[in-house]
Amino acid sequence: MLREAQPLTTGYPGGRRGPGLRQVLGPCLLSLAVLAAVSALALASGRYNVSLAHVAQILASRIVPFGSNLPAAEENVVLLVRLPRILLALLVGGGLAIGGAALQAVFRNPLVSPEVIGVSSGASFGGALALLLGLGPIALVGGSFGFGLLALAIVFLITSGRGGAHILMVVLGGIVTASFFSALVALVTYLADPFTTLPAIVFWLLGSVSTATWAKVVVAFIPIAAGGVVLLALRWRINVLSLGDDDTTALGLRPRLLRWTVLSAVALMVAGAVAVSGVISWVGLVIPHLARMWVGPDHRVLLPVSFLLGGAYLIAIDTIARTATAGEIPLGVLTALIGAPVFFVLLRRNRERIWDGA
């Protein structure tokens, strides 16, 4: 039987001093290094091979203009094809991971993620509707955002009774909301013109960053950066909020206002991610867990590390998606195929530490 989540007892080392600058900066710099290494490898790999030295030269030539003697094809592959794709994967992966970490705090449950609570379904309906009506990219983001937020509000209303955010209510509310919006998405695909809009909607829903352009990077950057800045600014408040409404009120804060601010920020980020890349699952669940096992539950460290690791993870998976086979495996398929077993192994290996409070 599912019970309310048990305490997660991974903490940072450092005892009495608590997280000083070093405890925050150390993991962040390390994850930044991982992100940089993954990005460099991703820029170099692909069907058209570019050496790491050439990648460095091409990137440097954009900052310090000096005559480049490299073939124009290499420059184009790196700057116009791979770089926007990698930035898009960074924004989407990082946004979903930091959003997942924040949702887990708000619902006080480490099993919550943007997909589980139905935000992704709501956002995909909004996006599919915008595609059906042939509206532009602003409507795509706006529709995703509006319906993502609506889905979140529905789940929240279902779980806000006196029982609190009990896991069964959260999961049930998420299932109800997700299936409701899935039905609406099915209705949209049913109504779509099978020769023009239907393929666009289906391809978009599969989840991919393969159609990345600099324009899409900008479209994703605005909502994800805006939401991310809010979450990072509230990083310590989110610690307090994760104790629950009673404690938050007793400590002199207003939990409802704080929660809705966090939820809106997450909905904005998820909407931005869904608008440019469709539904990419598992990142928002796996990465915050992984990060928490490493740095502990303090959101001052957890949020930035989740963003950096989420970005690195999605860039790595996307690179596998485009290089593993001659064709291309949809990203959303790979994140689930890789994410689910990895998550399972991690849970089994860390079961005692996470669930038994040892």
Partner: protein, 249 residues
């Protein structure tokens, strides 16, 4: 300083948990709330602390009350020091993190409560008594001179009960006002200047001495209760027993 005037609260209409309740907790005194299970002790504590809004009457607090809930685990395992630092939340700007001053205030509060050694331990790994002390330290770190404690001694072993009682007494000596709900009449006898008895027939308030007597306590709990005088290293005290002989006939 805490004052309730004509206070009334009910979870549904015409089903009052308490009604027309008036009492005050002057500085440097303790008011204990006693009553059987389900009599509304926690509800009253939450109303007094401002976590629940009264439906009738008014509650006046000289400052934001520090509220100490019953200890229970948290979803995420923060270190005890971080838990205590969270007591500083109302002094820290929305987008800011606690600084050196907040850390110092938290460590000082932990020292005062006698749990400085627990600072680096993770909250969920602490025993019930230690968690309770961390939550008290958290309220103390907030700097409020008015504390509302919901059954701070419930679930603790004898040693930790004594520890909590002596700590509360220490806090009162420095001029703080305490509203404490408890299941232990002898704790009220040790601590309280006045009491709120939440019985089935209504709520009685008044000074602790005359109200914590055999007849009143027996009526409150629906079981025979006797108070006994004893000598505590020269200090005369009273304690409470429930004579089992009567129950067995």
């Amino acid at each position: 300083m805490l004052e309730l005037r004509g206070a009334g609260f009910g979870y549904s209409p015409q089903n009052w948990v308490f009604k027309d309740l008036s009492f005050s907790v002057p500085p440097g005194t303790v008011t204990a709330v006693l009553g059987p299970n389900g009599s509304g002790k926690t509800t009253l504590a939450r109303c007094a602390a401002g976590l629940l809004a009264l439906q009738e009457g008014a509650v006046r607090r000289s400052e934001t009350a520090g509220y100490v809930p019953q200890a229970r685990g948290t979803t995420f395992g923060y270190p005890a020091l971080d838990m205590v630092i969270m007591g500083r939340a109302r002094h820290i700007g929305v987008f800011r993190s606690p600084g050196a001053r907040d850390r110092a205030a938290a460590l000082q509060a932990m020292d005062r409560v006698g749990i400085a050694a627990l600072a680096g331990r993770l909250f969920p790994t602490l025993s019930g008594g230690e968690q309770q002390l961390v939550l008290i330290a958290r309220a103390v770190a907030g700097g409020s001179r008015l504390l509302v404690l919901d059954e701070p001694s419930t679930g603790l072993d004898l040693k930790n009960q004594v520890r909590v009682l002596q700590l509360l007494r220490e806090l009162v000596r420095t001029g703080m006002s305490l509203l404490v709900s408890t299941h232990h009449p002898d704790h009220a006898l040790f601590l309280a200047d006045s009491v709120v008895l939440m019985g089935a027939e209504g709520v009685v308030t008044g000074p602790a001495g005359p109200l914590l007597a055999d007849a009143q306590l027996s009526a409150l709990y629906g079981v025979r209760v006797s108070t006994l005088n004893y000598d505590d290293a020269g200090t005369p005290r009273r304690t409470v027993v429930t004579p089992f002989g009567a129950a067995e006939g």
